[in-house]
């Protein structure tokens, strides 16, 4: 019986072990580097599908990305969880018609933390 019990216990032990989390820190592309403590940077004034942006904050937590058309109508809004410092994410454009847009980053109290005007191509 013991010859079955030991391997089983060993498997259970290994299975219950906490995962070893490898926290890889990828370098931020130079074009997205923000030297100040906070800021917002897109790859350029014009972006296309899955372009990256960097939203750098001193206080991590929940923020909202608000997309407004050129007439200032809200057409999309998304909640993101951020870490302190750089937060490099992708901006998808397949669901947004080409054109000029205002991108606002707001805190939960609806304060605009950062904003930018971009062209989606």
């Amino acid at each position: 019986m013991k010859k079955y019990l030991y391997p089983f216990m060993a498997l259970a032990f290994v299975g219950c072990m906490r995962d070893i989390k490898e926290d890889i820190q990828y370098p931020i592309e130079q074009s997205l580097t923000i030297n100040e403590a906070t800021g917002l940077k897109f790859e350029g004034p014009s972006i296309n599908d899955a372009s990256q942006f960097n939203f750098k904050v001193e206080t991590g937590g929940t923020y909202y990305i608000v997309v407004k058309d050129h007439l200032k109508n809200v057409i999309s809004k998304s909640e993101i969880k951020t870490n302190i410092g750089d937060n490099v994410l992708r901006f998808y454009t397949n669901a947004i018609p080409d054109g000029d847009y205002f991108i606002e980053f707001k805190d939960p109290q609806d304060n605009v933390i950062e904003s930018n005007k971009i062209t989606i191509q």
Binding site: I75, S76, S78, I80, F91, P97
Partner: protein, 564 residues
């Protein structure tokens, strides 16, 4: 064997070489009219003056053409040669013209009719007295070459086009009868031989001229600012046969002068959809025009309607009434009309197919502008269709056929032409306008809608919350990134008395609610849309956008939604 192979290989070249030394071609080339050089022969009218050149094309690279005489006959009932001919020969050339009246060539049946030198030089053909035909004999001789390129005109002629009567046959009424071409540049004259001076490609003019109708004709189609006129076209038919398909310009204008050309034939203009690429009449226009607020508006008019109801007194605009009158009996707005509209908005397409022809409408501008609710109720004749018969006033310098347009189901007229204020106040009275990149809408007020989205594990969730307690209907069109998301479901938290609807296309979800119990949709009602996201998606930014919206208050009036 090798010789055979080489011969087969080079055979096409032999043919080509042979044709390049094959005598000369003589042709009648149409050069438009004296007033319009680009006018095609098919559009030439009675009283136009046409310009015709005698074109000589030397195909013989061993000889130069220094002499030509070409005879051209014409019917004097159909044409009168006018003005001075313009010789195109070298400046030192000697030219001459001899003309004979009431003479016509009797063709030499022993040779091809286009074998111009054989026609004359061999026995069998002759000029004979024939009333109504003249012959001109055009001759030139030069010390330098002419006719040495493809368009080496000998001489340009002008003919006034005459009305020879309806019984006249215009076939070959201008005709090259014979020709002699020679090279005098050597020690002895070389005459281009029989069989090698051909009338080609055009030996005769056979056009039956159009009537002398000089009125400029055009069509203007007025559209709502949400309807791009360049995505419409006009099909012109002459006695039932299509003669033109013409797109409208950005002002809704198109010129039809070249296609409506007879006072005795019947012409119709038919409006058709002209979208291309990703343009789609149903999703771009019809589904945005025919919305839940239209249903709510009609319900307030009809018995048992939503809102507070006010049968017979809510809709005061005749065009609005026409757009809601979708069932029998016609010219009455009944609960059945509202029910049919509701069925469509809830996702059951009542048009099934041929959506444009079944739902887009046009009427003469004057009729459209004058049409009132009284006309609707009294069943006054109103040609609201896609086809109209054109009846120009040919004595006028110009005729402009003007139309206005609408879409069935568009009861609150956000996709239809406007009437003048003098006719009747459009209803409902708009006070608020919202413009987006896709449309303009006007309503009587605004209502807040909170929107947000987030990623939760492998799901992407979009949530909309109504911030008003005065809405009886709402409708949203949401575009999502179909390359990264798969739509799962919509959950409605809108109260027990509300009818909800949702249907999804490839990348667009149409959803909303309507309360038919004369009560508002409860405040803070929620629409929660769930998608399964692709594994690589790590950001919610830009995964969806709100494309269009629609809402109505308790009176069925359109409300503008303000997203925040």
């Amino acid at each position: 064997m090798i010789k055979k192979f080489i011969f087969i290989l080079l055979f096409p070249l032999f043919l080509y070489s042979q044709s390049s030394t094959d005598g000369a071609d003589v042709s009648l080339e149409f050069l438009g009219t004296t007033l319009d050089a680009s006018k095609p022969l098919s559009k030439v009218q009675v009283n136009d003056t046409i310009v015709i050149s005698i074109d000589i094309n030397n195909l013989d690279d061993q000889h130069s053409i220094t002499y030509a005489h070409i005879d051209v006959e014409y019917n004097t009932s159909a044409f009168a040669r006018v003005g001075n001919p313009t010789w195109k020969t070298p400046s030192a050339a000697q030219t001459s013209l001899f003309s004979w009246n009431n003479i016509r060539w009797t063709r030499n049946s022993n040779y091809d009719e286009n074998d111009l030198w054989a026609q004359w030089n061999k026995s069998g053909g002759s000029y004979t007295n024939t009333n109504g035909w003249n012959v001109d004999h055009w001759q030139a001789i030069s010390t330098t070459e002419f006719g040495d390129d493809t368009y080496g005109h000998l001489v340009e002629l002008k003919f006034k086009v005459k009305d020879a009567g309806s019984a006249h046959n215009y076939t070959e009424n201008i005709y090259i009868t014979m020709g002699r071409i020679a090279d005098n540049s050597g020690n002895s004259e070389y005459v281009y031989p029989e069989g090698e001076v051909r009338a080609h490609p055009t030996q005769a003019i056979s056009h039956t001229p159009l009537e002398d109708l000089d009125s400029n004709l055009s069509i203007n189609v007025d559209t709502n600012s949400n309807v791009d006129p360049t995505k419409l076209k006009v099909i012109i038919k002459e006695d039932g046969t299509q003669v033109a398909s013409l797109p409208l310009d950005s002002n809704g204008d198109v010129t039809i002068t070249d296609y409506v050309i007879s006072s005795t034939k019947t012409y119709t203009a038919e409006l058709a959809y002209n979208g291309s690429g990703e343009d789609n009449y149903v999703t771009d226009w019809l589904d945005n025009a025919f919305t839940v607020s239209d249903v709510a508006y009609l319900l307030t008019e009809t018995e048992g309607g939503a809102g507070h109801g006010n049968p017979g007194a809510v809709i005061t605009n005749g065009i609005s009434a026409l757009h809601g009158d979708l069932t029998d009996p016609t010219r009455q707005l009944t609960p059945q009309d509202a029910y049919k509209m509701l069925v469509h908005v809830l996702g059951d397409d009542i048009f099934t197919d041929d959506h444009f022809s079944k739902s887009f409408r046009a009427a003469k501008k004057a009729d459209f502008d004058a049409f009132t609710m009284t006309h609707f109720v009294n069943d006054s004749i109103f040609n609201y269709a896609l086809v109209d018969t054109l009846a120009p006033d040919w004595s006028a310098n110009s005729n402009k056929f003007e139309y206005k347009t609408g879409i069935l189901g568009d009861v609150n007229l956000n996709y239809s032409s406007a009437q003048p204020e003098s006719t009747e106040s459009p209803s409902p009275n708009p006070t608020v306008t919202r413009s987006t990149s896709t449309e303009n809408k006007t309503g009587v007020g605004t209502a807040k809608v909170a929107v947000t989205s987030k990623i939760e594990e492998d799901k992407f969730i979009v949530e909309l919350t109504l911030g008003s307690e005065e809405l009886i209907a709402s409708q949203f069109k949401l575009v999502f990134d179909q390359t990264r998301l798969t739509f799962d479901e919509v959950n409605f938290d809108t109260g027990n008395n509300t009818t909800n609807f949702a249907y999804a296309g490839d990348k667009l979800i149409n959803f909303g609610s309507i309360n038919q119990q004369k009560a508002a949709i409860k405040k803070d009602s929620k629409y929660i849309l769930t998608f399964t996201k692709g594994a690589s998606v790590n950001s919610p930014a830009g995964l969806f956008s709100i494309r269009n919206f629609d809402a109505a208050n308790l009176k069925g009036e359109l409300i503008i939604l303000d997203f925040e």
